[in-house]
Symmetry: C2
Subunit: 402 residues, 2 copies
């Protein structure tokens, strides 16, 4: 509630539950106070069959979810011997003495099921209300690398065996680039009308330069409705659709290069390594990615990439000819079939006459020719880097699919 931490739990948990067919009704975040936690959990148990809490189970003084929930349920807390032994072992295995107070994490409300934590010290807990039928509360530790395996290995299977199987549902997201949100909907709304009448739900999510189109349906016809929506959308949107679900533009590019097969190198100034980093986020990128040069200084542009001094003097580092020579130099010197180069002004300072902050030249060198695009990305520094890297990857992708 102080805005110091980004909540990634909501997306991850909702995704796991939705993929298993369960409808998530609501997500609530409250302050780290006993009253706020008790009130939110109490309300949630009045609304849902299962309530999942995250965080507040650790060893520090601001971790008191365990205590206030025991109070809400009217249950005494007692140390669980197995949980206490696990905590001791966690530290001794790492050659450390258990710090004072760390064993508070082994306290368990009477009757609760302990969910062992293979990746940390705080176990999770599962409790049932005394109502008929019972409602359930599952408490998970906050760190994602502890929460995620615990949820997948211990909670999701238990949900499957405890609650009635949900209506079959199918969800698919098409990821597109280069067409605006309104235009995407204008292209799709006519062709999908009958599917929407039959129960297809459509959602749109747009980011700079990208639109996701999400299809969802439930019941016996779900798979057919979603598949038909995907087919018709691909017909309307053509190569603007670069992938589905969790596909990324960089994964699409790596996949296209691997199919040829062909290799890539990059030369980056303003994006400072982000294009290379995105490409190497893709498992298996090493089969197609040769490497990159991050050339923040003019002399490195000359030394590593062979950009000519006359070009820099006549046109400046941020120019069409410099981008062209960077890409051609990277392709030649790093020995790849394709090369991308970016030079621009990420800001906040660096504006020069005729070249405002946000200016970027993006070059693609291929075996046949070099093409240079000019964009003006008027964003903060981080968004500028993200959008410019997106434009570079899309420039290459369009070449590879054309």
């Amino acid at each position: 509630m102080l805005g110091r931490v980004l909540n990634t739990h909501q997306q991850w948990l909702c995704r796991q539950l939705a993929d298993a067919g369960h409808a998530v009704d609501r997500q609530v975040a409250v302050a780290d106070t006993a009253d706020a936690i008790v009130q939110a959990v109490h309300e949630a148990l009045g609304r849902a069959d299962l309530v999942v809490t995250t965080g507040g189970l650790g060893p520090t003084s601001d971790d008191f979810t365990r205590q206030v929930i025991a109070g809400l349920f009217g249950l005494p807390l007692a140390e669980d011997p197995a949980a206490a032994a696990h905590i001791d072992r966690w530290f001794t295995d790492r050659g450390r003495v258990p710090p004072p107070g760390v064993r508070v994490q082994a306290l368990v409300p009477a009757g609760a099921t302990v969910l062992p934590n293979a990746h940390g010290t705080a176990p999770g807990l599962r409790l049932a209300t005394r109502t008929t039928p019972p409602r359930w509360l599952v408490m998970l530790p906050g760190p994602p690398r502890e929460l995620r395996p615990m949820f997948l290995e211990q909670v999701l299977p238990w949900i499957g065996s405890t609650f009635p199987a949900p209506a079959h549902s199918v969800c698919r997201t098409l990821r597109s680039t280069g067409i605006g949100e309104s235009s995407v909907q204008a292209l799709l709304s006519g062709p999908l009308t009958d599917l929407v009448s039959a129960g297809l739900e459509i959602g749109y999510c747009c980011r700079p330069g990208e639109v996701d189109i999400r299809f969802m349906a439930r019941g016996a016809e779900a798979a057919r409705l979603v598949a038909e929506a995907e087919t018709r959308s691909r017909t309307e949107l053509g190569p603007a659709v670069y992938g589905i679900d969790d596909d990324t533009l960089e994964a699409a590019v790596v996949g296209l290069l691997a199919r040829r097969p062909a290799t890539l190198s990059v030369a980056e100034s303003c994006t400072g390594g982000l294009v290379a980093s995105r490409i190497t986020d893709v498992p298996g990128a090493s089969a197609v990615f040769r490497g990159g040069a991050v050339v923040y200084s003019n002399d490195l542009k000359q030394q590593l990439l062979g950009v000519r001094g006359e070009t820099l003097a006549a046109h400046g580092a941020v120019s069409e000819p410099t981008a062209r020579e960077m890409a051609e130099g990277a392709r030649r010197r790093l020995g790849s079939d394709f090369a991308l180069a970016l030079t621009g002004i990420a800001g906040p300072s660096g504006e020069t006459a005729g070249k405002p902050v946000g200016t970027v030249f993006i070059a693609l060198a291929t075996p046949a020719a070099t093409r240079v695009e000019h964009h003006l990305n008027r964003y903060d520094r981080g968004t500028f880097k993200q959008v410019a890297s997106q434009q570079a990857l899309e420039l290459l992708r369009q070449h590879l699919v054309s």
Copy 2:
């Protein structure tokens, strides 16, 4: 609720409100259905003086927050001429014809105040309940680059003039690395006891390799309590504290280099450009950062950095001697005072005998000597890259502060 989109609104809005001294009581996310939206807004207006909604104001068929809120308040919708003209101009300025249906965004509930959107087509809206005193609902568009300036320029000043000034509050986060969460608390709890008794609130947040310690206090003594807590904590934690609030490790490193002054270059294999990209996220990095080589292939390690073929043959690409030669080669060839080099196995494949996935060698070359660290980061590929880049930046930072 389907887990397809990360919610960044909560952190950003809570941060702005907390920094202005306002307490945020609760954050709620619900499904894109009329019932869920109406119920959540109705409940929230029963609990808070001000409710802020985000999203659902756009032009597509899943955007109906405007309509259901008008229904909840019993207000008719009518097109606002200025908002409609803005939408038309938005498209004609960009050489496009307004797509069908886009003018739905100009519909305004009777009596609502229109918040113009300088960065998109959907205006925000402000409404009061008919109670005494009124409670307020502010509706903002979902895209962050539209929501954020609208909130800062039109909502926050209005909050300041509409609601009583809140109790003065002070918040400060210390960012630390290299000490675990329990150990940080064990070091701090004694020295801070009297400050906690006087009203200081302490929160901890840990990520792999990092612990944030957050201090918060309200009232006349707030600034003194927080400043005293910071001073004592810095005494206990020493150089483990690398910054405050939104400081990043990369910004700390760039600042330390600029103060010497000294320059840096990087040579990356397994992190694929991420270290360079993080450094160039810092405005002004060009004053200290020379550039980098992303060398995914063995021949580029030799060609760009001068790593010897014998070294690669005898020890392999992922080895202490290769990391050393990469760093020394980057320092020499890219012409910097310091150089960082990383070579490792990000996974999921690539494991070799004696070198499991997660292995990384990190070298720091200085004018005097080269030091190499070995870590085993058993994480997914993305977290491996993040943690290894963190370890490299920390290796350099510890050298610069020692």
